[in-house]
């Protein structure tokens, strides 16, 4: 682990309960500049709750959260936009921070939805909307990005491209990323630190360490750890959404 001044957010034995039921408890983790921390775990294991604790959305928590930045970009897992609001993609981009036109265009181009700029938010497909959400979160050049299943509903090639983009953003902006993902392939290939949750922290560490862990195997099955071992040799190229092949 690097020095303390790189820490963006730190959870100390954090937990949150609702109606006398613990959603998650005893979670300790930290996100540092330029690092990707991924939360994995089955449904209902407290991944989104942990993200919301880190973001300060839940306030009455057990343990403590130390947040060292206010420049935060968030892609929530669920978001419903009301039809009573006439909201175009462009209006949505400047929701929490005023941005100039070029910044907006650049972010929308990166996630491949620049052509939807003047469309009504309600008219987008699930995948398109997800790309807009990601564009909005990265456009403000945050120090901390919290991405709760950011590529849900995105087509297969798009998914790979977006994960590449997330990795690139982490490097370029030197921002810390707290990622929640179900896609173990991606998690294991692009992550610095994995936290495996199931109401509490089952195990955590580098992707390789976690894969060897017995609790991880119990939770995800033997196959999941085989997925991982395949990633010991990394691909030296990627396939872009336009069908080109790029060297890493």
């Amino acid at each position: 682990m690097s020095s303390d001044q790189n820490i963006l957010v730190k959870l100390n034995k954090a937990g949150f309960s609702l109606n006398n039921k613990w959603l998650v408890r005893g979670v300790s983790l930290q996100v540092e500049k330029g690092k990707i921390v991924t939360l994995i775990g089955p449904n209902g294991s407290g991944k989104s709750t942990t993200a919301k604790i880190a973001l300060g959305i839940y306030k009455k928590i057990d343990g403590s959260v130390e947040k060292y930045t206010n420049k935060v970009g968030y892609v929530p897992q669920k978001i419903s936009i009301d039809w009573t609001l006439p909201l175009r993609v462009n209006d949505f981009m400047v929701l929490t921070e005023s941005l100039d036109k070029e910044t907006i265009n650049e972010a929308l181009s990166l996630t491949g939805v620049i052509h939807l700029k003047d469309k009504n938010l309600g008219d987008l497909s699930g995948g398109e909307f997800q790309r807009v959400l990601l564009a909005r979160a990265i456009s403000k050049k945050p120090e901390l990005l919290v991405l709760d299943e950011p590529v849900q509903g995105v087509d297969f090639t798009g998914e790979i491209a977006l994960y590449e983009l997330i990795k690139k953003i982490s490097d370029e902006l030197n921002c810390g990323i707290l990622l929640i993902s179900h896609d173990l392939h991606t998690v294991m290939s692009a992550t610095d630190h994995v936290v495996c949750l199931n109401g509490h922290v089952c195990c955590s560490g580098s992707p390789m360490d976690v894969a060897k862990n017995n609790e991880y195997k119990a939770l995800f099955g033997e196959q999941a750890s085989q997925i991982l071992s395949r990633y010991e040799h990394r691909h030296d190229h990627i396939h872009t959404s336009e069908g080109e092949i790029k060297k890493n």
């Binding site: 919301k52 973001l55 300060g56 959305i57 206010n70 935060v72 970009g73 968030y74 929530p76 978001i79 936009i81 009301d82 009573t84 609001l85 006439p86 909201l87 175009r88 209006d91 949505f92 929701l95 929490t96 921070e97 009504n120 403000k140 919290v146």
Partner: protein, 267 residues
């Protein structure tokens, strides 16, 4: 010029419409029309207290409506009753208490109809000052809290996560609602003030493609309603509040025609 009651009413109405336009949009977006109703009902209590203590009406209504709003927030936290039941409880009990208090004030002659439905004859030069200065303050504060309020209207968690403090914006907005009801009660009356908030905004929703446009059309709709309503009120000798609201309904129906056309265009 201000000696003419009609000119005074017109200036007052225009002032009210400019403020209800943007506030009304938030009422529609945040689904607060029953909340507006509750505050307006409680205004009767404010008016009676103003009479009994010889206090300024707008100020007294503002205090009572704010208190009711704060009570509502507390009740929501401390009881398991659904929001609409709490709203109904507060609306009708404050209305009832207000009417009971009026019963005790038999030495004052009340124009109940004017209170409920607005009375253009009642608008004084002092009222004009309260409407325009109060209105300017409301708009200024609304502009200051616009970003967090709007962001949390779209999505509370996004606003909270990205550090905009939506709870504070919501509390301030609640006070602004009490304020607009206080300054516009003489014009539209307490039974119809919510109509002034939501009908122009609903009309604007039908014809606008962005939040900014909706606010502008809502203001224009409110202005047209006031002008149309007041002139017809003068012409047909009807109460000012219902005339203004009827005019806004007329504009709303016109905006529906526009929707039909745009649907046809899409097909």
């Amino acid at each position: 010029m201000l000696d003419d009651f009609f000119i005074r009413a017109l200036i007052a109405g225009i002032g009210v419409a400019i403020v209800t336009g943007p506030l009304g949009c938030f009422v529609v977006w945040r689904r607060l029309s029953y909340f507006g109703d509750t505050l307006a009902h409680s205004a009767l209590l404010g008016v009676t207290l103003a009479y009994s203590m010889e206090f300024n009406i707008a100020f007294s209504v503002f205090i009572i409506s704010s208190l009711i709003a704060l009570t509502l927030i507390q009740l929501q936290k401390r009881t398991n009753l659904p929001g609409d039941a709490l709203l109904g409880l507060l609306a009708h009990s404050s209305l009832a208490v207000g009417l009971v208090v009026i019963g005790f004030l038999s030495f004052i002659r009340f124009d109940i109809m004017g209170l409920l439905f607005g009375d253009i004859l009642a608008v004084t030069v002092d009222d004009l000052l309260i409407i325009w200065i109060g209105g300017a303050l409301i708009l200024l504060i609304l502009k200051l809290i616009w970003k967090p309020l709007f962001a949390s209207t779209v999505n509370y968690e996004l606003a909270e996560a990205e550090g905009l403090n939506p709870d504070r914006a919501k509390a301030i907005f609640t006070i602004l609602m009490a304020a607009i009801i206080a300054i516009s009660i003489k014009m539209v009356g307490l039974l119809l003030i919510t109509g002034m908030l939501i009908i122009p905004a609903a009309m604007a929703r039908n014809i606008s493609s962005s939040p900014q446009k909706m606010v502008i059309y809502s203001i224009i709709g409110g202005l047209l309603s006031v002008i149309l309503g007041l002139f017809s009120s003068l012409e047909f000798n009807t109460a000012s509040g219902p005339s203004i609201i009827a005019a806004s309904l007329f504009l709303f129906i016109l905006s529906l025609l526009n929707i039909k056309q745009s649907i046809k265009l899409k097909n």
